[in-house]
Symmetry: C2
Subunit: 332 residues, 2 copies
């Protein structure tokens, strides 16, 4: 992968879809307003304008355009997806007691947990208003199912994340819920609104699902090997928050008795001392789990690319394929 | 009003609608399940089975039956309304840092804030799944609008509740949002699913709106004059939580300089000492604001009863009328 910004596939997609993306931005600005409660657009703007890549709404637009859609409603669905994502971020930051998001202080820190919870609820409700507007029952079913799957994944994570019995299958369940469900719904509704044939809709779902899993695995990997500048996260945040992710799950599976005791103390019991993060990193290196996790991420990216096969030839198809490569290029 | 339990209008309605209410309970139990995250039904069951009166779903069933509906979907809509209500309660308890709800410890106390936020999100999503099932666009519009209005009312309350400039108009705005919006949506969708004529649907909306406002005013009044046994709340909770409600808003409007300073210190600045609640109660008595608030609640109940006029003669119509009287009888 070249590092030239112009070559980043999501930048190429954003340029290709720039008119649609502007329509999405305008709709988001319009719908995040509130006649009565100015706190709502304040909090939302803080997050929405923090410069996220808007990857998820772009996936919806790309899927719809690639399948030949010419109507106006892909914009509503893209905005719906972004509202669900934003609501999730607001609630996640409360749940994780986070202080930073996209390199800026979180809303729960700038305002309070109350505002984050309630403004998140408002955005959820707004997303449901938006998704009804195209009048498509299958679209509403897909997006409301995704919202339920996301919440279910987050609740599962609450109980699974600090439990050493959590294996790769449970991890995948959590990731499918908290991340991949919205990616796959984003691509799937693009195909559905375009009235694409069933095998193409299925292909779009599979692509979004695999891309979302790859994306989350990379995110979890960067928590142990990224640098703060590039990710806006500090190395070891997940360890400090006692969140079992794939690199540690793989290390636990290979742990001897002493190592197991270390993970039990630091993750399950949460008793962490100075030097524990370094020791954790040494164990990940000892069992080579960062490399194994990279390999998994690449496999999911390959799965995403392969899923695109039934879709018609299209510039956007090539960009989606490149996007899958790009997602995992951050770790190579 | 007689105090005989059998004469309580919501008990008569529950008896009249018992088959429907059982179907709603069964549907709620079915949909609060989660294949992957057992924490979800645990938390939900704690709240759902705590013996709430299920007033809101009953309103939907009553409206639909009164308008001659014979299909199955009023049950889905009633369950939708109860899920939205339950999600709101879970988030409210986090926002208010409450320790008790319906006479039992709150979910945020028994589990944690994280579970309350995320299980609330799950129930919101479940409610949206449910509301799509009847396949009625107007129903989805009404219920998703209500969800947005509820969240907007809650956010408005965040900023308005501790601001002495909050007048009766802003209070009404908050109450319409956080309480009446779900009552009016509950009754309105009952009429819509039954394909009732426009004037009857409007009447159902107006009834729910006025009943919801009366209900909330009474709730706020009981906070200052109820007894813990009857309400499950402690006298003065709203004062301690610095929540401006109608009795205090009326007292602030009549306050002399010294009294205003008292309200500024205790509500706006939140500096409360022993004896302050007693002094607040004395000021409410001095300006007779509890009586004035009672009068307002009764006017809203009358408005609710009058709204029923366009609806056809029906046993349920009489029960709804009695229900409006009953809601305010708790304060007489």
């Amino acid at each position: 992968m070249k590092s030239d910004v112009k070559d980043k596939p999501h930048d190429r997609m954003a340029a290709y879809l720039s008119e649609d993306m502007e329509a999405v931005s305008a709709l988001i600005r319009e719908r995040m307003a509130s006649k009565h409660a100015p706190r709502i657009p304040e909090v939302t703007a803080h997050l929405v304008e923090a410069g996220g890549k808007r990857l998820r709404p772009m996936l919806t637009l790309a899927a719809a355009r690639m399948c030949g859609y010419t109507g106006p409603y892909h914009v509503h669905l893209a905005a719906t997806v972004e509202f669900i994502h934003t609501a999730t971020l607001l609630h996640d930051d409360v749940v994780d007691e986070s202080a930073q998001r996209r390199g800026r202080p979180t809303a729960n820190l700038l305002w309070d947990n109350q505002s984050s919870v309630l403004v998140g609820d408002y955005l959820f409700a707004r997303s449901f208003q938006l998704m009804t507007e195209p009048g498509s029952m299958p679209v509403m079913r897909i997006l409301s199912n995704a919202a339920a799957t996301i919440a279910e994944g987050e609740v599962l994570q609450l109980t699974a994340a600090q439990n050493l019995a959590t294996d790769e299958a449970v991890y995948l369940q959590v990731v499918r819920g908290k991340t991949a469900a919205l990616f796959s719904a984003a691509t799937e509704v693009g195909g559905v609104i375009a009235d694409a044939p069933e095998d193409q809709v299925r292909a779009l779902f599979d692509y979004g699902d695999a891309l979302g899993v790859a994306f989350q695995i990379v995110d979890d990997l960067l928590d142990y090997q990224g640098d703060t500048g590039a990710t806006g996260k500090n190395v070891g945040d997940d360890f400090r928050e006692r969140k079992l992710t794939l690199p540690v799950i793989k290390a636990v599976a290979k742990a001897n008795a002493e190592e197991r005791a270390f993970w039990t103390r630091t993750i399950e019991k949460g008793r962490q001392d100075e030097g524990d993060l370094d020791h954790a990193l040494a164990l990940l290196r000892k069992h080579d789990t960062l490399t194994a996790t990279q390999r998994d991420a690449r496999e999911w990216a390959e799965k995403a690319k392969k899923a695109l096969t039934p879709l018609p030839d299209h510039e956007l198809k090539d960009m989606l394929s490149d996007l899958a490569d790009y997602v995992v290029s951050r770790i190579s």
